[in-house]
Symmetry: C2
Subunit: 276 residues, 2 copies
């Protein structure tokens, strides 16, 4: 693992690291914020999964999460959104290929060899950071934005017991029924929709739900409401009496201005669960 940069931030340290990934077969870059408390011993972790076109960097520089995480003594992990590099398949569209991994293990060519973001995030990266840093891997929470909100919800439901709490900003809530989903699942997983279901937060919520609390924030003026389908997830959450909170925030759009506005709430929500 290679240290790319390190900047002091809110009395802690914001690092960027690169490592050779077995899961994705390429070098992967991630950001890690360690609060001051990590100098004394292991601290809890909040994962932040990013949206389409993002790298590890967007949320790390624009979400305003470090200050609140520092206040709570929580580490933040900012993974990339896909494999990258010259040998990695790509597409001209912004919503397929590099920057658009959708947090699945692709089984179809040309995506299959590298696009294994599920394994990367479910297994490889947690093992790596648990080994290398002062992190308490028994206390992990997860959040994300848009495609990353989809990733956070599906990883949490797919890995029961892993996370203490899940939150999302404007998640892609029902990808099987959206152009942000059908196109990508067809490409990565093929046409058999039984392979899609474990990657659709609404379908998973209907099937199994979560035994930990969920917080969703959705901007009421989000320019992508038709693609996100928040109403499907909200319906599924309430139908199964999922412990949670689905908030529509009047006037907010899909941008980081929306995320940064409510980041304090999300970090506080996770802190309550992580320290329960």
């Amino acid at each position: 693992m290679e240290l790319i940069s390190e900047s002091r931030c809110f009395d802690g340290m914001q690092g960027v690291y690169r490592h050779a990934s077995a899961a994705t077969g390429c070098d992967m870059t991630f950001g890690l914020f360690l609060p001051e408390e990590a100098r004394q011993g292991p601290v809890p972790i909040l994962w932040y999964l990013s949206g389409l076109t993002c790298t590890h960097e967007n949320a790390m520089t624009k979400a305003g999460a470090q200050g609140w995480a520092a206040e709570q003594g929580i580490a933040l992990v900012f993974p990339d959104t896909s494999p990258r590099g010259e040998g990695v398949a790509d597409d001209d569209a912004y919503d397929l290929g590099q920057g658009a991994g959708f947090y699945v293990n692709a089984t179809k060519t040309p995506w299959a060899p590298h696009f294994r973001m599920w394994d990367y995030l479910a297994e490889e990266l947690p093992a790596l950071i648990g080994r290398e840093f002062a992190l308490d891997m028994d206390r992990q929470a997860i959040c994300g934005h848009s495609m990353g909100g989809h990733g956070a919800l599906t990883l949490a439901m797919g890995l029961p017991g892993r996370f203490t709490s899940v939150s999302a900003f404007a998640p892609i809530a029902n990808p099987s029924a959206s152009d942000w989903g059908r196109k990508q699942f067809s490409a990565y997983l093929g046409e058999d929709k039984t392979t899609w279901a474990p990657h659709d937060a609404t379908l998973m919520m209907r099937e199994k739900g979560l035994d930990v609390p969920v917080l969703i924030d959705q901007g009421g003026s989000d320019q992508f409401l038709d693609l996100l389908r928040p109403e499907a997830l909200s319906e599924a959450m309430v139908a199964r009496r999922q412990e949670g909170n689905f908030r529509v925030q009047k006037g907010y759009d899909h941008s980081y201005f929306f995320i940064s506005t409510f980041m304090e709430d999300h970090v506080a929500f996770h802190a309550e669960a992580l320290y329960a």
Copy 2:
């Protein structure tokens, strides 16, 4: 004036605007955050001037200022750092030409016709935003980072009575004695150093100082300490008993991670002066 984008943010609105500038002879873009209170009537303003290579966008998305400004009911203005466009002179170096206006009125070719950032910020942009938005132009404060810290300090000292308070993150403190300054002043203003003095915060501090409080934060591990020359400004401030606070923050570098860490303090410092 053209609205480029508008995003709700901390109950207020983050807008981006473009307008034809007479001062710079080209279109100029700026960001403006209006807190919720601006819907009721004029609010005080904090100017944020950015550093080398930045546009209006960097601080707007990465400094984490809007939350604190919203809490204090203060507007934030994020101007660009230079004129831009195809007809505007430029240089291959990152620290000269577009993105590197240094907040002066250039008098030398090829810079003279467009590089008039002093006039733009001292006269044209305040007049424009005072006319177009609910801003209380009798209550203005100013801050900035690096080249923008230089701009904030020199504008405040050059326009006595304009600002209630001045702050800077890692300002270019003594450009006449630095490679971040000599090269640009030579290009924009020529070799007569009497024209440089009104654009050197340390020299101005020695000559006249400020009748309002000053807050400076300087990262102790800033990678550009030799170019910034913070010790020269600090010496000048204390020698003239300038009301102020010069803080060295151990371990912090020159990045937005440093800025965002101390942004709360800077906004609170300005709020105290704006509401005095």
